[in-house]
């Protein structure tokens, strides 16, 4: 990995490095901008999933659809741990396992929050 270092290992994969390669004089903050878009988008999805789970009635198709979007944007930014939790959640959706979904979602939110803090620190340090 380029400047990401050990603190990011496991949280970000080679896709993040691909994004860093796209950063140039025309867009010197490209990666930070994409990260901001990701966290804005993922906050919306987390909120949608939270509300769907709080209602108690598990619409697994809807939950899977939200998580498909979440996985997609996590993949695009290289958020490997978050992506892995999305995959697990979708497996539980397909199995109709509500408890598994709830448990995985809590873990996903932890990984997401950790990634956010790490990236905030990373961008501050690189200025």
């Amino acid at each position: 990995m380029t400047n990401i270092g050990k603190c990011m290992q496991g949280y970000l994969d080679e896709q993040f490095m691909e994004l860093e390669e796209l950063q140039d004089d025309a867009n010197p903050n490209f990666v930070e901008e994409v990260s901001a878009l990701y966290f804005k988008d993922s906050a919306r999805l987390i909120n949608n999933i939270d509300q769907a789970l709080e209602r108690g009635s598990f619409d697994f198709n809807r939950l899977d659809s939200y998580m498909h979007q979440f996985k997609g944007s996590s993949t695009s930014i290289g958020a490997s741990k978050v992506k892995a939790e999305c995959t697990t959640f979708r497996e539980y959706c397909r199995a109709g396992n509500a408890e598994g979904c709830l448990r995985t979602f809590q873990q996903l939110k932890k990984e997401h929050s950790t990634l956010r803090k790490k990236l905030e620190h990373y961008f501050q340090a690189s200025q």
Partner: protein
């Protein structure tokens, strides 16, 4: 890949004046795909679903290349690709999606794609699309 490396790879690309349409409902992917296209000097526009892509063409728009996402609200990539082909649109369409199982890929290809790449899109994958669709002239 730096600009110089891209220029070496495709010396005539900058002169080709290619245009592309990004069709994707994710702002993250829109931003990344536009940046990839900009890096290759390809002028581009963005729409957020298949219906908007069809509407652009109905209004007289035209692009050399369409990067078509599969899962989108209102009209998905398969529906949009079929519709564009029914309209007689001959633009090259490359499907770009996270869905990679053979059945889904086959369905998307059969809708009328010229190429397919699994997300996330990278410079290498975009160059692969351009190579496959003969969008440059080798010297």
């Amino acid at each position: 890949m730096t600009r110089d490396q891209v220029a070496e790879e495709l010396p005539n690309l900058a002169e080709s004046k290619l245009t592309a349409l990004v069709v994707d409902d994710s702002f993250v992917n829109q931003t990344i795909h536009q940046k990839l296209l900009n890096r290759l000097g390809i002028k581009n526009d963005v729409v957020t679903n298949g219906k908007e892509a069809v509407d652009v063409y109905c209004s007289g728009g035209n692009y050399d290349l369409i990067l078509m996402d599969m899962d989108m609200p209102i009209m998905n990539g398969i529906q949009a690709t079929k519709r564009l082909r029914e309209m007689g649109i001959e633009s090259k369409i490359a499907g770009v999606t996270t869905r990679a199982n053979e059945g889904e890929k086959k369905e998307f290809m059969e809708a009328g794609l010229n190429d397919f790449q699994e997300k996330p899109l990278t410079i290498s994958k975009l160059l692969s699309i351009l190579h496959k669709l003969n969008f440059y002239v080798q010297t």
